[in-house]
Each structure stands twice: as C-alpha cells, then as structure tokens.
C-alpha cells in the first residue's frame, strides 16, 4: 500500500517510494539526507513534529515535508 509518510502512525514502517516535490534543490536535499527510494523508514513520533528513524540516525521533519515523501507500507 502506498501512502504519504505523514499518514503513517507511530511504530509503522515503510520503504520510500517517491519524493513528490518540484523544487530541485529541496529534492536533492532530501536525497542527500538519505530519503531516497528504497530506504527504510520507521516513524518514531508524530507530534509536535515527525521524528523518523532512517538507518542509524533520526531525522525530524515537519508534517508538510512528510507529506511529500511517498512510502510503501511494510509494517507486518
């Protein structure tokens, strides 16, 4: 199932499918942060800001940014 990262709940996991932004610089930034298709992510927290586990780091993202990241839900 494909959803936006902002639709995942705490503890749910996904595999990044696409980054939906037209802004080349922002797109590049997300790629460089490690959000490229195929990366596995897990939602640690959603309020007040999203906290995403990505490999061995955690990255804080706001809801808007999470809404641009499309993931395949992989939670069992």
């Amino acid at each position: 199932m494909k959803v936006n990262l902002s639709q995942l709940r705490v503890g749910e996991q996904g595999k990044i499918y696409a980054l939906n932004t037209d802004k080349a610089d922002f797109y590049r930034k997300l790629l460089n942060l490690g959000f490229f298709p195929g990366s596995e992510v897990k939602v640690i927290q959603t309020f007040p800001t999203y906290l995403i586990q990505l490999g061995f780091t955690q990255i804080a993202l706001d809801r808007k940014t999470c809404g641009l990241i499309e993931v395949l839900v992989t939670t069992k």
């Binding site: 037209d22 080349a24 610089d25 922002f26 797109y27 590049r28 930034k29 997300l30 790629l31 460089n32 942060l33 490690g34 490229f36 298709p37 640690i44 927290q45 309020f47 007040p48 800001t49 906290l51 490999g55 061995f56 780091t57 955690q58 990255i59 804080a60 993202l61 706001d62 808007k64 940014t65 641009l68």
Partner: protein, 646 residues
C-alpha cells in the same frame, strides 16, 4: 602543504581539527555550528602543514550557505589532501561524498569516526577491507577519546614524507546511458584548468549548478560554452530532478555495493537507554517540562542568579569598587597630574573605571556562565531536540525549528548569533531571524542584568516577558507575512545523545569567551575614548541633550540617556549602564520596567550592526536598524502610558 577537513555536519571534524592543530573551534553535537572555515597548522618534521576545518556538507553540490562555503574553499584553495570524516554508524549515507571527492580527483584519507558508537550499535565494519576496496587509507577513530588520532597522524606524516605512493583511486561509476555520454562529451570539451577533475565539473554542469556554470563560462571560450548549453537544452531528456536522482543514486548504489563487502549489520540497534532518554526529550509531555527546567536552572538560576548575581556582586562591588578603582585612581592622580588625562583613564566614563570594569566585572561573569550552559546543551545533543519541540511555535513567526540555534545562541551574544543565521536555508529565514535577534532577543548580559534588577520589582519580570514576547511574536508574524518567499520546510538530523565531556566543555567555553572578550574589550576602550573626546568637545553633552527629551517622554530620569547611548556601542555595555543607574537609586520601579523593555528592544549594538551589514548588505542592516529605533521607543512609551494608567 594544505589539508582540508571535510564531512557531513556533526561527525567530529572540529574535534579532529583540535587534535591536529591544538586549536579549538566551537565543537558541538549540533549540526551546523562551524559556519566559517578555521585555519590552523602543525609541524611534521620540517614541513609546516596548514589545516582547515570546514562547515558540514551533505554533498559537493551545495544547497545551504555553509555548504557553499566548503565547496568554494575546496575549489579555490585546492588542498593537497582531504580528510573526509564520517560518522561510522551512517557510513552508508556518507560514503557517496567520499566517492564525489575521489571523482573530483582529490587525495583523500577516509576517517571513520565514532567507532565506539558503531560497536555499541552492533555494526561490524572492516576498515582494512574498505581501504582495499576504495583504494585510499581508511582510519577508524573515536575522536572525543583521542582513539586512532596517532595512527591518523602517522598516515598523514607518511603522505607528507612521500613514503606513501598515491595512485588515484579508480572507483568506476556506471552512470545511466544519457548522463554517461554527456559527461564524456562535456568533460572532453573543457580546456581550462579546474581544481576539480573534468568529470566532476561535467557532473556539476549537467546538474545545472549555477555557480559552476558561471566558472565554466568565464574559463572556456564562447563556442565551447554555447556547445555545452546546447547539450543541456537538447541532449538531456530529464528535468533537473531526474538528473539529480540518477547521479545521486548511481553513487549511492556504488557505496552500497562497496559496503556490502565490508559491513555487517546483524541485529544492529540503537542502545536502549539512549533511545529512552532521547524519547523523554522529544515527547511534548516530558519534553516541555524539561525545556522549562533547563531555562529555570540553566539560565535563570545559574546565569541570572549565580553569574549576574553572586559573581558580579563580588567582582563589581568588592574587587573593582573597593580595591582596584580606588587604588588605580590614586596612582593615576599621583603619576599623571593632568585633568583631562585623568578623566580619560579614571573619570566617570574612564577606560579603567568604566570600560574595564564593565567588561571584566559585569559582562564577563554573565557571558561566561551562559556559554558554559550553552556548551553543555550543545555537546549533549539537546538542541536539535529543542528544535523539534518548538518547530510549530516558530512556524507562527515565519520561521521553523532550525532557527532555534541562532535564537538560543542570541541569548548569549546576538552578534555571534547573527553569524550563525547562515545555517538557515532561505534568505527569508535568515533576514527574519536577524531582525528578531536585533529586536527582541536580549543577549546574556542584558538578560542577566535585567532579570536580576526586575526580580526586585513586583511583577517586573512578568511585564518584561509579556511585552518582549508579544513584540517578538507579532513582529515575527507580520514580517513573516510580508517578507517575500515561501516558508521553508523543517528537517533536521537529530544526533544521538552523548554525555558531554568536561574537558571539551571547558575548552570550548574558554574559546568562546576568548572570542567574545577580544571582540568587546577594544570596543569598550574605544567607547571610553570616544566619550572622552565627546566630553572634551562638548559633543557628548549635545548628543545626550538630544536623547534626553526622548528619555523623559518615557518617564525616565535624564541620566538614563547615557545608558541608551552606551547600549548602541554594545548591548551589554548598555545593560551594565542600567545596572549602574539602578544602584544610584534614581530609577523607580515603573522606570526600571520601561527602561528594561526599551533597552531590550533598542537598536542592535555596533558589532551586531556590522555583522548584519557584512552578511546581508547595507540595505538590510540599515532597514532593520531604522525600523527598530523608533519602534523600541514607541513600545517603551506605550508601556510607560499603560503603567501610569494602571
């Protein structure tokens, strides 16, 4: 001989820089604290080796201001050797930068730092094997514990002595068809000499890197440049995004292929305790009380109570007033029997009796205690968690969580903080933060003095908090509405929590205090001299008489005009002046509230104005100041009216 330290934010570049050169730059557990390059040097045998520390990068293709600083440095300085420092836990994400550096044909040593955390997370990384795979030296280190530094120095030394024969690593990257073809075409056309390899230049050009395109246009002849443009327009089917994607992913996959042969992740996980602690700081229910505790104990009790209270009372009240000032005054009066010279040195605004006393006895204890607290917060990794918590609040004023670092640092020194606005991404965020720093964020000296004085007035602190807070929120909100540009999204790496190491904290606090002291002391001395000249020529009194009606309109005694004039030289100087005036007993409770509020909002000091102009140009600097000046007095007047009605 030049060595550059390069790496992503928060991987320990500055600590390694310190181990190599003995110099300290502000090291922290917060992405983006090195906003400028720092030079240092060491000697290896007879050879003098220059070392430069650079701001963190996520890629050689710069997006934020500090990334640009780093790439410009690599491009113009052409270092003989690069130490690429990575966080071992996240080597998968960072190895692509090594690949980019090798593509640019730099000589690179890969330093895999934070090996202790790597082991604790259960990651097995075979550095020897990695070294063979990529063909460059790979040195494992734990920089904060000095592990591996000797080995690193040995390898650098071998290289300097020419014992190590460097063959450029030949990592073959298989870019997708169209890109590969165009890389070959473009790199074949380039005739100029660049610090980066032709392949690497071609990659920047293909990604339409504005700056590199300009460099190419300047270096190559018009025909070549036109041909390159034709390729960009006609021979590339994808948009900027898809080109960036293809290039990034090719490097990423290459990195993964390499690491698949030397990295094992069996059951790797972040340690439990660290995870729990981190959660406590980031969940609002436990996080907000923690913020309040940090503010109360760290700032109010320690900086305000201990620094601005106990230490200042001792240094100012006892050391200077009772011992040093009388002693010095007697000496000067005996040795220099000229009135005007006495006035300059030990008069009411004398270099010694006022300048030095303000700097050493009032400002230093406050700023010192603040920097100590700030260093602990920084090194522990708490600040990114704070950024995450307050992101939503900052969005109201047109900013986002990233602005936490300059804003909190501003509570120490607004000038230093204005410099760090570079870590913000858009011009809009930078200017907005600069405005709020200039207007509503008191520096530690102001905060210390003001909170100390206002604590004696019933309701004083509340008034001050409400007025300054409202001003900050409403000005931020309105400016956020009117400034052009879109509100940037918030994203920030949250590094693992670490126990701050006392040694690091102390040297870092010392480095900051030194920076600060060297910055303010001359200004304090000049101010005394300027005031002295003003006094001799009568200009000072005239300026004061201009300010006096303004001050009187706020219901303040005429003497406070001096304080405001001081405040313009240095914020903290003004705060120190307020302290003096209050102790003369000529300020009533209402006056103290009005003066504190106006002084907090009142113009950025000279140093801050200078930095504003340096970073954002004379127009922005003057606009901000021109807005603040009448605005601060206007608010002061309103508060005065309100207080007299109540």
């Amino acid at each position: 001989m030049k060595i550059a330290l390069v790496g992503s934010p928060n991987v320990g570049k500055s600590v390694i820089f310190h181990h190599l050169t003995g110099k300290y730059v502000t090291v922290s557990n917060y992405p983006g604290t090195t906003v400028e390059v720092t030079w240092g040097q060491f000697k290896w045998g007879e050879e003098k080796v220059e070392v430069v520390d650079t701001p963190g990068i996520y890629s050689l293709f710069p997006i934020s201001g500090e990334e640009k600083v780093t790439r410009d440095l690599l491009f113009t300085e052409e270092p003989d050797l690069i130490l690429h420092i990575v966080d071992g836990k996240n080597i998968q994400r960072m190895l692509p930068i090594t690949i980019q550096l090798l593509e640019a044909e730099f000589r690179v040593i890969l330093v895999v730092n934070m090996m202790d955390e790597v082991r604790r997370c259960g990651i097995q990384l075979d550095c020897n094997k990695l070294s063979k795979l990529i063909g460059i030296p790979v040195i494992p280190t734990v920089s904060i514990k000095k592990e591996g530094i000797l080995e690193l120095k040995r390898v650098i030394g071998e290289w300097i002595l020419g014992m190590e024969s460097w063959s450029n690593s030949k990592i073959l990257l298989n870019y997708p068809g169209e890109i590969k073809l165009n890389i070959q075409r473009i790199s074949g056309m380039l005739r100029g000499k660049y610090s980066f390899s032709n392949q690497s230049m071609a990659l920047f050009v293909l990604q339409q890197d504005g700056e590199m395109l300009k460099v190419v246009q300047k270096t190559e002849n018009q025909r070549t440049y036109d041909r390159i443009n034709t390729i960009l327009e006609k021979r590339m089917t994808g948009d900027k995004r898809s080109v960036a994607y293809a290039i990034t992913m090719t490097r990423q996959r290459k990195a993964e292929q390499i690491l698949a042969k030397c990295l094992e992740l069996h059951g790797a996980k972040n340690p439990y305790l660290q995870r729990k602690l981190s959660q406590i700081c980031t969940r609002p229910l436990s996080g907000i009380p923690i913020v309040l505790l940090v503010l109360y104990f760290g700032i109010y009790r320690f900086v305000g109570g201990f620094g601005a209270g106990v230490v200042v009372d001792f240094l100012e009240g006892v050391v200077f007033r009772q011992w040093l000032n009388p002693l010095f005054t007697t000496w000067v009066e005996r040795l220099l029997p000229w009135d005007s010279l006495q006035l300059l040195l030990v008069g009411e605004y004398g270099i010694f009796t006022l300048g030095l006393r303000y700097a050493v006895a009032i400002i230093l204890p406050i700023v010192g205690t603040f920097f100590l607290v700030f260093s602990i917060l920084e090194d522990s990794g708490y600040l990114p968690r704070l950024a995450l918590l307050v992101d939503r609040v900052l969005k109201v004023i047109g900013l986002n969580g990233r602005a936490v670092i300059p804003l909190v640092l501003g509570l120490g020194c607004d000038t230093m903080a204005t410099l760090t606005t570079r870590i913000l991404e858009t011009k809009r965020e930078k200017v907005l933060t600069t405005l709020l720093l200039a207007l509503a964020i008191p520096c530690s000296a102001q905060l210390g003095v003001i909170s100390g004085l206002l604590a004696t007035v019933p309701g004083g602190l509340i008034w001050w908090l409400i007025v300054v807070g409202t001003v900050m929120l409403s000005v931020g909100y309105l400016a956020g509405k009117f400034l052009p540009g879109e509100q940037g999204g918030f994203y920030m790496e949250v590094p693992s929590l670490r126990w701050p190491r006392p040694g690091n904290i102390l040297s870092k606090t010392r480095a900051r205090i030194e920076w600060y002291f060297l910055e303010i002391l001359p200004i304090f001395v000049y101010s005394s001299v300027l005031i002295w000249i003003g006094q001799l020529t009568g200009l000072f009194t005239r300026l004061l008489s201009l300010l006096e009606p303004v001050v009187k309109a706020l219901g303040l005694p005429a003497e406070t005009a001096v304080t405001f004039l001081f405040g313009f030289f240095r914020r903290d100087y003004g705060a120190a002046g307020l302290f003096d005036i209050y102790h003369q007993g000529i300020l009533d409770d209402g006056g103290l509230i009005v003066a504190s509020i106006t002084l907090t909002l009142f113009v950025p000091c000279l140093a801050q104005l200078a930095v504003m102009i340096k970073e954002y140009g004379i127009k922005v600097g003057l606009l901000i100041t021109g807005f603040i000046f009448p605005f601060a007095f206007g608010i002061g007047y309103l508060v005065h009216l309100l207080l007299s009605i109540l």
